[in-house]
Symmetry: C2
Subunit: 204 residues, 2 copies
Amino acid sequence: MQSNRQKRTNDPEGMRRRVLDKAEESFQARGFHATSLGDVMAAAAVTGGALHHHFPTKKALALAVIEERVAEVVRRTWVEPLRSSASVRAGVRQVFATVADRLERQGFVRGCPLNNLAHELSLADSDFRVRLASIFKEWRSAIADKVRADQQAGGEAGTDPERFAASVVALYSGAMSMAKTAQDSSLLRLCAKELDESAGGVLN
Amino acid sequence: MQSNRQKRTNDPEGMRRRVLDKAEESFQARGFHATSLGDVMAAAAVTGGALHHHFPTKKALALAVIEERVAEVVRRTWVEPLRSSASVRAGVRQVFATVADRLERQGFVRGCPLNNLAHELSLADSDFRVRLASIFKEWRSAIADKVRADQQAGGEAGTDPERFAASVVALYSGAMSMAKTAQDSSLLRLCAKELDESAGGVLN
DNA sequence: TTATGAACAGGACAATCACCCTGTTTTGGA
DNA sequence: TCCAAAACAGGGTGATTGTCCTGTTCATAA
């Protein structure tokens, strides 16, 4: 303890980020209950004191992962791409394709981050459930808003925005669930194709 | 221990069934990792020795729940109703409606038994994953077979059986996932309606 | 410089967990 | 009737867990 006299550098944001990184990773790979704080401490190379300083309880850590990481993944994967797409249909198709490409490249399916935590934690704690539900809501709203924008531009006649949005989220969530269980990303492409052709025509 | 001298009645099947009942219930309500064997023992009113006699490990208990209970729920809810329905479309619509009715009557959403366990256990253990995947497969096959039967009868032209089956399972799984997180069964009805009207016509 | 609180270290703690072990009772066939 | 195996009882155990506690070090403002 006296030989390697390296000074300790206080880096609250960095340490918090490292903990969140490893917690998110382990929560997704092994689940919340199967992840011990010892696992997180070891992976992030932080002490118990530091972990407890930033996240008083395991629940607080999970809430931070949900609000700061899972929500961000949904925004980055769905909300933002949709905003800059030519149409809902095109945007949705593009997201499905992008995700399927990534899954094929990495060779395994870890599942949808939101659904993974939602299934394990929704019934366990109301605080978890409410926050997870609001992320689902934000996801659906992004799609529904895009439908309405298309309708303002003269397209998507006869499409119910909320119903379409819920169905897209459901289809994606379920397809990813199956892909995870079967470890087969082709199920995602299969469902994407169904969405395309059920449009009833040659929409962009 | 001497006053109430009631004889012990050996009832292996009954005891095994009671354990399975409570294990299934708790696995669904709280999850596998959040359920302790002590919980199951207390709920089923069995001793540690008895539990360990029928299920050597917690994993063995979970495998039994998956194969004897979860698989049965899928068969009872989906496979059998589909077999006796007039058409795929009618059968699928009927299942969605039946489940939604039940959810509204009971007032809360516990989620799809298969998806609940699949999300928590698929990545944890390959034995779990393979068996859960085969239940998904059986589910999809029941739908695809019914599509092919309809096609033999002259209907469902242009419908890809496997693709349609995967999409129905995905839509249902995802809708149930959202309904569970939001504790709102109307999302199930919303997605069911989308499935109806995307059929493109007035099919039976 | 100094002082105050945040940032971090590291061990202790009680509770819980899955599993195992030994012993007893019941069952069914020889 | 007898006996071997199945069925069950119930306590024990080592390992793990989340949390807490007491110190020590760093950063920042006065």
